[in-house]
């Protein structure tokens, strides 16, 4: 479950953001839309604990992320939060299976090959596990990115522009996949995007504007 009060964050005096309160749980996934410069990615990074807000609270399963130290936020993020990026970066030297496993390793969790296999089957990437990331298509990379994010069974799943580079068919498939998987895993889902095609699939949404 994610709940925020009014959050403020400033890169510089001239570049500051104020974000309205949001709430989401696994039954009410949240869509945050906005145009370029509206602070979507900044908001996502704040929710992920990659940035620390100047004020306001970010409660993830009751823990106020803002009050954690930098190292504490790293540990907390590893255990409870996963992020899917528009460009799903991978460790190029590792296989797809190892890229999924490494997520669990960094978060301090143990994962079995069987669990990876089961998740890979759900996301239709079983045949890709032994390949190197460079050998995958963009759509395959996106699905592997989702598998990597879900392997830790996070409390909060954040997705940054997951559909921007996809056509309509694939856009619908990825959104459906994210909603289904997060619902199955009882994971709160937040999607941040400027892709307004996604809006139709969410009732809980927030549109950010440039002040």
């Amino acid at each position: 479950m994610l709940e925020t009060s009014e959050i403020q964050f400033a890169y510089t005096k001239e570049t500051s953001f104020r974000f309205p309160p949001v709430y989401c749980d696994y039954e009410n996934p949240l869509l945050i839309t906005g145009k370029s410069g509206s602070g979507k990615t900044t908001f996502l990074h704040l929710l992920a604990g990659l940035l620390k807000p100047g004020s306001g609270n970010i409660l993830v399963n009751g823990t106020n992320v803002r009050l954690l130290s930098a190292a504490g936020r790293d540990r907390f993020r590893g255990k409870y939060i996963s992020v899917i990026y528009q460009q799903p970066h991978f460790m190029q030297a590792l296989s797809v299976a190892d890229n999924i496993a490494v997520s669990a390793y960094f978060s301090g969790k143990k994962v079995t090959a069987r669990a990876i296999g089961t998740l890979a089957a759900k996301l239709a990437v079983s045949g890709l596990l032994q390949k190197k990331p460079a050998a995958l298509s963009l759509g395959e990379q996106q699905r592997v990115g989702i598998a990597r994010a879900l392997i830790n069974e996070p409390v909060l799943l954040l997705a940054d522009e997951p559909t921007s580079s996809l056509d309509d068919d694939n856009c619908e498939k990825v959104v459906g996949l994210l909603k289904a998987q997060s619902s199955d895993a009882k994971t709160s889902l937040v999607i941040v995007t400027h892709d307004y095609r996604v809006k139709q699939y969410f009732s809980n949404n927030l549109d950010l504007h440039v002040d």
């Binding site: 790293d74 996963s82 030297a93 960094f106 978060s107």
Partner: protein
């Protein structure tokens, strides 16, 4: 998983990794080979030296005299008259004098005429058979017996000269093996020891033989009396250190012989060799520094292309210190691999020297010498280079700004 991440990262850019390892292992191999050889040479020289205070022989190069009489790795400077040698032997300042008569060999192994004191000097123990009691009887050094497959009771013919060729065999004069020595790990292992009288018998009879051949007349009965007996060198041990100052001067100036101090000559030789060893080590050191630079460039240049995956790792919960450790260990792994390959090459080089090089064969350069403290020091130096080379890239990884990096993607 940590090891897998590191090794896969190194294998992923195998070209740069291989280059760094080749540079490092070359440096390590040269340094360790030079170190072990230098150490073994010094140790072996010291072993063979025992307590020989002075070597007396024919005039010529003092180093040549020492190398030929003590280490048996050079030709002798000539012979000296036994009567002259006896005057030195009777000098009250001399505690022990051991005569050496050599110039013949058997398939590359020197035949040395001497007395039992020579064997006692090297604490030689008869492993099989007995000590010689008559001329033409020999005891064999352990390596001679092994390599030439000679046994007690076997006969062989010596050849003139110290090479392995058999151009001038002393036919008609058979040496008989009466004893085989236990290994002493000294020059003795490579020698065939016989009474001085054997050498006189072979050579004086040979000279007589030649002489009588011209007159078609053979008579060996008076061979020892017609020509003056000679030896090749005399190994002296003094009663008091003061003799070290007076004896060499006396011999060099008052006699037609030459006295050479083995310690001085060997120190001079080691000084000359040391300069070569130092130069080699300097070259190897440069190679290792270049290798360190190669590791640094390899890791640093990869940072730019790996920044997204590093930021990603951090966003997945990887702590700063863990990311720092991964990059640091990548540098360390390259250096440890370079060290292991280098030491293996060095060991192979030592084995090759041990079995192929004539000089080294006499010096017993062995793999065991690699297990010395110096090699441990070399390991720490190599690891230090790896850690130093990886330090800046590691710190860069430690300080990576996750949000800025991922937002800039």
């Amino acid at each position: 998983m940590l090891i897998k991440i590191i090794t896969q990262n190194l294998l992923h850019r195998w070209g740069a990794t291989l280059l760094s390892i080749i540079l490092l292992c070359s440096g390590v191999a040269i340094i360790s080979l030079v170190m072990t050889t230098q150490k073994q040479v010094a140790q072996k020289m010291d072993n063979d030296l025992k307590d020989i205070d002075l070597v007396v022989g024919a005039k010529g190069s003092p180093l040549q005299l020492v190398l030929s009489a003590v280490y048996h790795i050079d030709a002798p400077t000539g012979n000296i008259k036994m009567s002259d040698a006896e005057k030195i032997m009777k000098n009250p300042m001399i505690e022990q004098a051991i005569p050496l008569a050599y110039g013949d060999s058997y398939e590359g192994y020197r035949i040395v005429g001497t007395d039992s004191n020579y064997l006692a000097k090297y604490n030689a123990v008869i492993q099989k058979g007995r000590l010689f009691t008559e001329p033409m009887e020999v005891v064999l050094g352990s390596e001679v017996a092994t390599k030439k497959k000679l046994k007690i009771g076997n006969f062989f013919i010596g050849s003139h000269g110290l090479g392995s060729e058999e151009a001038h065999l002393h036919k008609g004069y058979n040496y008989k093996v009466t004893g085989i020595l236990e290994p002493t790990h000294t020059v003795l292992d490579h020698l065939i020891i016989t009474p001085v009288a054997s050498v006189w018998l072979v050579h004086q009879s040979h000279e007589e033989h030649d002489h009588h051949d011209e007159n078609n007349h053979h008579d060996h009965d008076n061979t020892h009396t017609e020509t003056e007996q000679e030896i090749t060198a005399l190994l002296l041990k003094f009663r008091a250190p003061a003799a070290q100052i007076t004896m060499p001067g006396f011999i060099n100036q008052q006699t037609n012989m030459q006295a050479a101090s083995p310690v001085l000559e060997i120190n001079r030789l080691m000084g000359l060799m040391g300069a070569g060893f130092t130069a080699l080590q300097a070259i190897a050191g440069m190679l290792m520094l270049i290798a360190g630079l190669s590791v640094f460039i390899s890791l640093y240049s990869r940072l730019a292309e790996r920044k997204y995956e590093m930021a990603l790792a951090r966003s997945m919960g990887c702590s700063r210190i863990k990311l720092f450790t991964i990059v640091l260990l990548e540098g360390l792994f390259i250096c440890v691999a370079g060290f292991v390959v280098g030491i293996t090459l060095s060991a192979a080089g030592s084995i090759w020297l041990d079995s192929n090089a004539v000089f080294a064969n006499r010096l017993d350069v062995g793999v065991s010498a690699l297990l010395s403290g110096d090699i441990l020091l070399l390991f720490f130096v190599t690891s230090g280079i790896g850690l130093a080379a990886a330090m800046i890239p590691s710190l860069k990884a430690y300080h990576i700004n996750i949000s800025k990096t991922l937002a800039g993607a």
